[in-house]
C-alpha cells in the first residue's frame, strides 16, 4: 500500500480503537448526565460571574471564552493517550512494528477531539440564549468550523505532550493540567491576552486557542468576515507547528525508551 493510504488506514483503525475504549467509559446517557451537565454548569457559572462583575459585555466575554475553552480542554486528553497503550501492554508491540507509533497515537485519541468539540458547541449553543448572547445567523454556521480548528490545534499540542510523558507516565496528569490551566489563564479566555506583561502575551500567541478564540469573538461581534482571516491563519499555523513538533519528536522519544528500558513487555 502507498505510504499515505497506509497512514490513513492506520489512523482510522487507531481512531476506532480509541472510540471503543472510550465507549466503555461513557455511553450517551452517562456522557449527557455526567460530563455534559458538568460543562454546562461550568460555562453558566462563569457567565454568572460576569453578571456579578456588571456588564453584559463581561457576561458574553466569559461565556464565549469558557465555552470555546472546552474544545481545547477535551483535546488535551490526548496527553494521556499513551497510557492506554501502556495499560494494554501494547507499547512494545507498537514500537517493534514496522509502522510509526505517532500515527497510532494521533488516531488513538480522536475521541477526545470529538468529545471536546461536542462539549464546546453543546455548551455554547445552549447557554448563549440564556444570557442573551445573539449568535448571528447564518455566520454562526462558521462557529463549529472555528471550534474544530481550536480543538485540532490543541490536539496537536496534546499529542506532542503525550510524547514527552511517554517515558514518565506519572507526570501525564500534571503536564495536561499545566497545559490547560496555562491556556485558560493567558489565552484570552477570562481576561484579554494583553492583560499580561509582554513576554507572557507572546507566549500566549504560541498556544492553541488564543487566535481561534479571538476569531470567534470577532465573528460573534459582527466583524466583517475578511478581518477574521489573519487569526484563523495564525491558529492554523500554531496547530501545524505543534503537529510538526509532535511528528518530529514523538517516535524519537518512543525509541528513547529503548535506552532506559522503559518499554515494558506485558506480563
Amino acid at each position: 500500500m502507498s505510504g499515505l493510504r497506509h497512514t490513513l488506514h492506520v489512523l482510522a483503525l487507531a481512531a476506532r480503537n480509541g472510540f471503543l475504549d472510550y465507549s466503555v467509559t461513557f455511553t450517551w446517557k452517562t456522557w449527557l448526565s455526567g460530563w455534559y451537565l458538568r460543562v454546562l454548569a461550568q460555562v453558566v457559572f462563569f457567565a454568572l460571574m460576569g453578571r456579578l462583575l456588571g456588564s453584559t459585555e463581561q457576561v458574553h466575554y466569559l461565556l464565549l471564552g469558557n465555552a470555546v475553552m472546552l474544545a481545547a480542554l477535551g483535546s488535551l486528553f490526548a496527553v494521556a493517550g499513551t497510557t492506554w497503550e501502556r495499560r494494554a501492554g501494547t507499547l512494545p508491540l507498537l514500537v517493534a512494528s514496522p509502522s510509526s507509533p505517532v500515527v497510532v497515537f494521533v488516531g488513538r485519541s480522536t475521541w477526545a477531539l470529538v468529545d471536546g468539540f461536542l462539549s464546546s458547541l453543546g455548551a455554547l449553543f445552549v447557554v448563549a440564549p440564556l444570557f442573551d448572547l445573539g449568535l448571528p445567523w447564518p455566520r454562526a454556521l462558521l462557529i463549529p468550523l472555528l471550534v474544530a480548528l481550536v480543538g485540532a490545534s490543541a490536539y496537536a499540542l496534546g499529542t506532542f505532550l503525550g510524547g514527552l510523558v511517554l517515558r514518565a507516565m506519572s507526570t501525564r496528569n500534571v503536564v495536561a493540567n499545566v497545559a490547560w490551566t496555562t491556556i485558560l489563564a493567558i489565552g484570552g479566555v477570562n481576561v484579554p491576552v494583553d492583560f499580561y506583561p509582554r513576554p507572557v502575551e507572546w507566549f500566549a500567541h504560541a498556544l492553541p486557542l488564543t487566535h481561534g478564540l479571538q476569531a470567534i469573538r470577532d465573528l460573534v461581534g459582527g466583524a466583517p468576515l475578511a478581518t477574521l482571516l489573519p487569526n484563523v491563519a495564525l491558529e492554523l499555523a500554531v496547530g501545524t507547528a505543534w503537529l510538526a513538533l509532535a511528528l518530529l519528536t514523538f517516535d524519537r522519544l518512543a525509541e528513547g525508551g529503548r535506552r532506559d528500558g522503559s518499554i515494558e513487555f506485558g506480563g
Binding site: 500500500m1 480503537n17 465507549s23 517493534a96 514496522p98 509502522s99 535506552r259 528500558g261
Partner: protein, 317 residues
Amino acid sequence: MPDAVEVEDVTRVFEPRKKKDERVVALDEVSLTIPEGEIHGLLGPNGAGKTTLVKILSTVLLPTSGRARVCGHDVVEETKAVRPLIGIVFGGERGLYWRLTGRQNLEYWGALYRLPPAAVRERTRTLLERVGLADRADQRVEQYSRGMKQRLHLARGLIGDAKVLFLDEPTTGMDPIAGREFRTLIGELKGEGRTILLATHDMVEAETVCDRVTLIDRGKIIATESPRSLGHVISRFQRVDVEGAPEPVLGRIAALEGVSAVTRTEDGGARIEVSEEGATAEVLRRLVDAGVTSVRTSLPSLEEVYVQLIGERGLEV
C-alpha cells in the same frame, strides 16, 4: 545465508533510577547463534535475563554493549529491516486490545505490518482458524479465556508472516492441555521454516519442543545444547542406580567426596548422585567390591541438570 539470530557478547546493565535501587547486570556477555529454522529454548529461572535478551532482539531495548543481529540485520542500527521480519509473543493477558474482537485485533496489527487490506482479511481468517478461534472471532477479547487470549497472541505474532518469532513465556498460566496444543502449534511453525526463540522457565516445555536449549542464569549462559545431550555438558553430573546394595556400603559411598546424594528408591534400590568428575569410578569400584552387580549409570535429565546447576530457585514460578 546469515544465521537467524546472532548474539555477540551482549551485556545489558540497568542503572539505578532511584537511589535505593541497585545496578543490575541483566545480561553479562551473552553470545548465542540460532540457525534458520531452529526452535531454540532459552531456559532459566525468573530474573535470569530471558526477557531482557528477547527485548533486545525484538528492538525494544538497547544492549549496553555487544552486538545482535536478526537475519543479518543489526537490531540497534537497522530496526527498519529487522522489524518486518520478527514477531513477538509474550505470555499473560496483556498486549491485546480487550475492547476489540479477536478478528479486529488481528486486522489492526495486520495494518500496522503494512499488509494490503485484502491480504489482512485472508490471513486473519486462516490464523484464527489455525489457533482454534474461528468460532469466537467476532467476540470481544475481554470475553476470552486466558488460553484463548494467549492463542490470539500467537496469531498476532504471526500476522506479519514473521521469519523469526520471539516467544517469551507464551504458555504462562495455561492449563496443561492448552499448553500441549500450543506446543503442537509451535512444532508446525518450525515446519514452515520459521525460527523460534522460546524463553521459558519450564523445563518440560524446553525439552519437548526445542531443537537446542540455552541454559541461562543471572545473566550468564551456562550451556547451549540439544535437550538430550545437555546432560553431557556437565559430565561430572552422573547418577548410578543400584539394586541390592548393603546399607553399610551405601553409607560409606554417601560419605565419599563428589557424591552429592544417595536416595533409597521404593523398590529397595538406591540412586547415587555424583557431582564431581572422577567420583563415578570410585563409586563403581566400591559397589563391585561389595559384590553388587545390578548397577546402571545414566545421565541426568534436563530437569535434573537444571536443578543441579541453578538450584532450587529454578523451581520457583
